[in-house]
């Protein structure tokens, strides 16, 4: 698999970071101003500062929670995908394809379906993390590190099917009330509709998890070119692997707990960035986080412009063709 061509469009990593930041800013501003009620620049400022009550309600109750959830989810999924690619030594690994997202969704659905979610805010994320861990260990059992792409993807298919069945069972169980059922459907097709500050608090641990990821770039470089080699060069490989696996699982679980199953973000974003700036993870980690946030906010915008298509639908429509293109490229 050739993850990076000989052409790198952006040699300067600072420039790439600025570009990703600008894209995120533009999408964020668009996300705050566009909608059923268009807000002008003046209204935006007044609303954010609370001087315009109508705009303030729209911004603080609807659009800011949506935007912030989107940014957290995007950064988490993209970072998680990047880490999985290093862990499995395979550039096609990602939370959606390996079934870790499905595991998180199954966990969340079980939490809601069993009624446990009503007790505390933490129940859904904790169940999502448990589900994601189960999926991760399933993949590791089925496809060892450095396994071929076929084996890894087949393991993902199996895990996706199994955990999808868990989700479907809870969904179709007769004991589940209609109201809860409507909520459950939400998890299957990820989206950012009706997000509240409660969801942002739920996803808040993404921030420290992402900060822990930032200084690991160099050791990720070494690990991505072979575990034994990395060990011989001075990396404490077992510890690094534990940390990476823990972080990537938690990131996917938290993202899924607040936005449902959003596919392909962890695959597309690190891939495009690798093509643009090369494979060095010291650049890729911060870039993937910002780029992932920009990608999800952008896809959400696209969906809103297209008459309210859900985020999970948009990322799949964009991502699936891209994935097929990658597979074709890998064969050559």
């Amino acid at each position: 698999m050739r993850a990076s061509g000989k052409i790198r469009f952006i040699r300067h990593s600072g420039l790439a970071l600025v570009l990703a930041g600008v894209a995120l800013l533009v999408f964020a501003l668009a996300s705050l101003t566009w909608g059923d009620v268009r807000l002008g620049p003046g209204q935006l400022v007044d609303g954010l500062l609370g001087r315009d009550e109508f705009a303030a309600t729209i911004l603080w109750q609807i659009r800011l929670p949506r935007l912030l959830t989107g940014m957290l989810v995007g950064a988490a999924l993209s970072g998680s995908g990047l880490v999985m690619q290093v862990y499995f030594n395979n550039s096609l690994a990602s939370p959606g394809l390996l079934g870790v997202s499905a595991g998180s969704a199954a966990g969340a659905v079980v939490a809601i379906g069993s009624g446990l979610a009503t007790f505390t805010l933490l129940t859904v994320p904790i169940f999502a993390i448990a589900g994601a861990l189960a999926a991760t260990f399933g993949v590791i059992l089925l496809a060892r590190r450095g396994a071929s792409t076929e084996r890894l993807l087949l393991a993902g298919v199996a895990i996706n099917a199994l955990l999808g069945a868990v989700t479907s069972y809870v969904l179709s169980a007769p004991t589940v009330s209609y109201e809860r059922n409507a909520q459950l459907v939400f998890w299957l097709i990820g989206g950012l509709e009706d997000r509240t500050w409660e969801h942002i608090w739920m996803a808040a641990p993404i921030v420290p998890a992402v900060l822990l990821l930032l200084p690991m770039g160099r050791s990720m470089d070494l690990l991505s070119l072979g575990a034994t080699e990395a060990q011989s060069l001075g990396v404490d490989v077992p510890r690094l692997r534990r940390n990476l696996l823990g972080l990537s699982t938690i990131l996917t679980a938290l993202a899924t707990a607040v936005a449902g199953t959003v596919g392909f973000v962890g695959l597309i974003v690190p891939h495009i960035l690798r093509l643009l700036v090369g494979s060095e993870h010291r650049r890729l980690v911060p870039l993937s986080l910002i780029g992932g946030a920009a990608f999800v906010v952008g896809c959400d915008l696209l969906g809103r412009c297209a008459g309210g298509a859900r985020l999970g639908v948009v990322t799949s429509l964009v991502g699936a063709p891209f994935f097929l293109w990658l597979l074709r490229r890998a064969e050559r």
Partner: protein, 243 residues
């Protein structure tokens, strides 16, 4: 306490290595020979502290008299370097950045990297992605990275196999200059004629140490016939060397 650069005492790897003991003094170029499957790669990996079980009673590997198990991972990266026989590069790092990875344990990014690139004839390839290189070029990248670690103990698994004659001789001359500077270079090889010219030869057969010592004492015609099943004799033949 032993001052050997590398010492193994009754080192065992189930199914692959029967108890092996040996001591290598510093300043030598050591050739590791033996038929396919005789445990050369296993011996190198276990000597580098890369196989589980190292440090247990039965797996006593020491560098400069210090048990490898007691050395923290980061220090190990500065004290010994190991290269695999074959590298699979999944990601398109540039040659230069892969060589710079050898500096991980030193906490810097540049020291000795340009010299290592020059030494392995990689300057022209420095900006190429490593997943687009030929087997021999990849091997040189691995060796340059090992050189960049500046580790006194170098353990190379069949470094010469994919190299052309010129680069092979350059790697050999690199090994000699490292050993003259006080380092110890241990590498596996299949060319017994070349092994004949090294400082020290270790002969493995079926996971057991058959002999270790000066090449002339280890690679006797009788032993070569017994271990490799080939006849050997000494006579003038084509000699290759760097001009």
């Amino acid at each position: 306490m032993s001052r050997a650069a590398l010492s193994l005492r009754e080192v065992t790897v189930p199914g692959r290595l029967h108890p092996v003991s040996m001591e290598l003094p510093p300043g030598l170029v050591v050739g590791l020979v033996g038929p396919n499957g005789s445990g050369k790669s296993t011996l190198l990996a276990v000597s580098a502290g890369l196989l589980p079980g190292v440090g247990r009673e039965q797996n006593d590997v020491r560098w400069n008299g210090q048990a490898v198990a007691t050395i923290p991972a980061l220090d190990r990266g500065r004290r010994a370097s190991w290269t695999p026989a074959e590298a699979r590069f999944e990601f398109g790092f540039t040659v230069r950045s892969v060589v710079a990875q050898g500096r991980y344990a030193h906490g810097d990014d540049g020291a000795g990297v340009e010299e290592a690139l020059a030494r392995l004839d990689l300057v022209a390839l420095a900006e190429r992605p490593v997943n687009r290189l030929s087997g021999g070029e990849r091997q040189r990248v691995l060796l340059a990275r090992a050189l960049a670690t500046a580790a006194p103990l170098q353990l190379w698994d069949e470094p010469l196999a994919p190299l052309d004659p010129r680069h092979g001789l350059e790697v050999l001359s690199l090994a000699r200059s490292l050993s003259r500077a006080g380092g110890t270079v241990v590498f596996s090889l299949h060319d017994l004629r070349l092994a004949q010219e090294l400082d020290f030869v270790v002969l493995l057969e079926g996971g057991r140490l058959r002999a270790a010592g000066a090449p002339a004492e280890v690679l006797t015609p009788k032993r070569v016939r017994a271990v490799f099943g080939v006849e050997s004799c000494l006579r003038p033949s084509l000699c290759l060397s760097l001009p």
